[in-house]
Amino acid sequence: MLFNSYLFIFGYMPVVLAGFWLLGQRRRDWALIWLTLASLFFYAWWRPVNVLLIAPSIAINYGLSRALQRYGETRPVLARVVLLSGIAFNICFLGYFKYLTFLQGTINDAFGAGLILTHVILPLGISFITFQKIAFLIDVHAGRVTSFTFRDYALFVLFFPQLVAGPIVHYREMMPQFHAAPCRFDAENVAVGISLFFFGLAKKLVFADPLSRLIAPLYTQTTPVTMIDAWIAALGFTLQIYFDFSGYSDMALGLARFFGIKLPVNFNSPLKASSMIDFWLRWHVSLTRFLTAYIYNPLTLALTRRRQAKGKPVFGGRNTTVSAFATLLAGPTILTMFVSGLWHGAGYTYVLWGVLHGLLLSVNHAWRLLRPRFWRDARSYTRLMKPVGFVLTFVSVVFGMALFRAPTIGGAVGLWQGMVGFHGLTVPKALFSHFGPVANWLQALGVQPVWSSGSFLMEAVLRIGILLLIALCLPNTLELLSRYEPAIGVRPPRQQPAWMGRFAWTPSPAWAVGLACVAAAGILSLGELSEFLYWQF
């Protein structure tokens, strides 16, 4: 079941909410059990067989967690073994479903082995679920989580709002909320939930999906993509995935809020970032948090302590040596981003995308260390260079997204070549003829007119232009609703920006009508008459 479907919005949600609130009137426990079962149903809807996979995995992880709880303090060595086997089990579980085909393909490529690729169907949300279970095991082992029941654990793993596209949540930020939730109809929660959910729905259906359909042909065409089209393809995809992810994040927040639960932030206007470091604190925030906490920090800590024990220089701010930088920052960063890329998808393009971002982050960190040597004043530097940083970050992200979208590395390279002008620059003849004398000029420079429709170009420019404006200049939903804590920890800033006085969200009649328009736009975009499709020999 997709969030953006008639069945989910008009069938599933009303039933689940009604049941939750009615049962909650009697006993909170029943409401929570109902919610767990409803989440299991949601999970099963995708493919009933998947329940047979996820149920044993939940049971095994629960058992291991109990063992860790029992032996964590008393028998640390056994606890360690249990932890490592738990992590290994989960990774293998994920690895089988998500990466087996990729692994076989890689072995084939590297060694010329003729492995036949097994086709494995990926269970829903397995990437998120796996990471959450691993985090839970580690938390129990480290003593961050001390008591839990099977009911709690099942609800935590299966809670449906974050099953499809995250965020990755920690047990200790979820369970206290479940235990404290009133489980009754609460008008404020519903008002906030409605606003978040339908903002998200509209973003996905009205912003992201039409753009996706528009630029799709550019990624399958057999002829090389020329400069303007290449930029449309890259920028278009960046905005498409931006609003898709932003929309899903908002929808997840809204859905959880109906039940009185706040999820952590996962998306915070990443295109406004002025550095790559900033970007990753705004894009897929919960993933960055997870990777930092469970891979980057432990790794860096361990490496640093080891270096220190050996007497080698460690990180020292502006006095860092190259070897310290390479081992203690660049290395772990690139490794972490490698994992991030791999997590996003089982393919060379995703891995390369991750590594690319790892390199960019390392460059960013290096720059931050070196900068004080020739530009002492931090304030003036920020004031002058922030716009430059913004442009650099933006361009890097857009180029990187080509890897994310193109089916092969070759395809991405072809697109990059197009973007820098290797494949020439073409303009639809219909527009070209309106340039008058300038047309001859342009043609002399190598700009070619072609028999393609000018309407595609105009629609693309219009859509991309408007969406860029929205992504870069308007406040996002978290900021709009900040007075009502739409996500964990989100509050209005100490210095409230000017627009917040008049335009911040409150449950006012004006916003009610406004959200009705937004919701109508979303609901009306759930389906459409099939458009006539051309086939070709």
Binding site: S433, A520, I523, Y534
Partner: protein, 424 residues
């Protein structure tokens, strides 16, 4: 009621009101003529947005129209032949133009015929076949699936059980979607254009798109753009037919159509639609001409055998004065053409001429009745026409395409007169 509760209530009521309002708006404007809403001048008299939903629109239209004659074919017929007008004898009227634009093939004509018969007191069927769309395989796309579910009868003639659900879906999606809303708005905005595309109640589209394109770009560009586009299609078709052995695909559908008409007492007339010389030259270039001739031969044979002489088969496809009119020069936006908009689509004037030829004994020597006895001679005659026109007098074809010499001219003298220009 506290503030948030009031918010939820206002939101719910506003949402419902908005959605219902939009539905009512879409029902009134009826951009795809699904509901048969009254056509009011200045608001929704013309239906330009029905263009991409022709199968949908026409199926609902024909069920309200109850035609005596149904006209079938591809976009050539959809745009090129008027269902109203003096060309049609009174006994054949009212005529409904059920031709579907796009690459729906012969099987679609058959299913559409069944729908027409189920809808109205159909006595006559006029089906235009063309070499290009004839070979389209059975529709398997999602769209085509819905198109089939919408019809009154299934392929075997029995009532279609999937109809009610599909029509419910059609109605819902024509009322409560963003697409429909944007199309309704677009419909209203377009009413005041100088020339508006329309799908009238009898199904014959007007030529607005071509009129506007001709004014904006000139006939030369229209021809050149279509030639460039059709070149790929011709090559694709050539590859498809390259190693084909035996009778050409979909000929059996023609047999089925003929039997069906006989069983239902329908007077059937078949015709081969004419391409402009530029379009025919693309077939030569792709090596398809032998297949073109095979197409005519087999068709004549099937029609004669199954039709028993009662089914006329007209061949309008040749290199005559109507199909080889010269294209105005590049940049000339004033000079009109007489018979063609571009290589595939003929103008309504030619469409009317063909209707008069078939049903009104018009003496103009355009088009020939094909039988198994004369088809070989006809093929030879068309070749001779081409030889004279293209090979010997060196008439330039294939607007804007660079080509050193025409294909298949037996080495006769080729004129080097350069008469193509434009971007190379």
């Amino acid at each position: 009621m506290n503030r948030p509760a009031r918010f939820v209530a206002i939101w719910l009521v506003s949402l419902l009101a908005l959605v219902l309002l939009i539905g009512a708006f879409n029902a009134a404007i009826d951009p795809y003529d699904v509901f048969g809403a009254p056509r009011i001048a200045g608001i929704d008299l013309f239906k330009p947005r029905a263009k991409n939903h022709s199968m949908l629109a026409k199926t609902y239209q024909i069920e309200r129209f109850h035609p005596v004659t149904v006209l079938l074919g591809s976009s050539r017929v959809h745009i090129g032949i008027d269902a109203h007008g003096a060309a049609w004898p009174a006994a054949m009227q009212p005529v409904y133009n059920y031709a579907i634009p796009g690459w729906y093939g012969t099987n679609t004509s058959y299913r559409s015929l069944q729908e027409a018969v189920a809808a109205g007191p159909v006595k006559n069927a006029v089906i235009f076949l063309d070499f290009q769309n004839f070979f389209a395989p059975e529709p398997t796309a999602v769209v085509a699936d819905e198109d089939q579910k919408r019809l009154l009868v299934q392929a075997d003639g029995s009532p279609n059980p999937a109809r009610r659900l599909q029509r419910l879906s059609d109605a819902a999606l024509s009322l409560f979607t963003m697409g429909a809303l944007l199309d309704s708005a677009g419909t209203i905005l377009a009413q005041h254009d100088a020339v508006v595309l329309d799908l009238p109640v009898d199904g014959s589209s007007n030529e607005a798109d071509f009129i506007n394109a001709a004014r904006a770009d000139g006939m030369y560009d229209l021809f050149a753009q279509k030639v460039a586009f059709e070149q790929d299609r011709a090559e694709g078709l050539a590859t498809f037919l390259a190693n084909w052995q035996g009778p050409l695909p979909n000929m059996d559908i023609v047999s089925r159509i003929i039997s069906y008409c006989r069983a239902h007492g329908i007077a059937l007339t078949l015709a081969i639609a004419p391409s402009h010389g530029d379009g025919l030259e693309l077939y030569w270039r792709a090596g398809l001409w032998p297949r073109v001739e095979q197409f005519k031969t087999e068709l004549a044979s099937v029609v004669a055998k199954d039709g028993g002489g009662a089914v006329p088969l007209w061949d309008f496809s040749d290199y005559s004065e109507w199909t080889t009119e010269p294209v105005p020069a590049s940049g000339d936006r004033k000079t009109p053409t007489r018979w063609y908009w571009e290589p595939t689509h003929f103008k309504k004037a030619l469409g009317a001429l063909m209707v008069r030829r078939m049903f009104d004994h018009d003496p103009t020597p355009f088009g020939v009745l094909l039988t198994p006895d004369n088809v070989a001679a006809r093929n030879a005659a068309v070749r001779a026409q081409r030889q004279a026109l293209v090979c010997e007098s060196g008439r330039a074809m294939l607007t804007a395409l660079p080509h050193p010499r025409p294909t298949g001219c037996d080495g006769s003298g080729i004129s080097t007169r350069e008469s193509h220009r434009g971007p190379t």
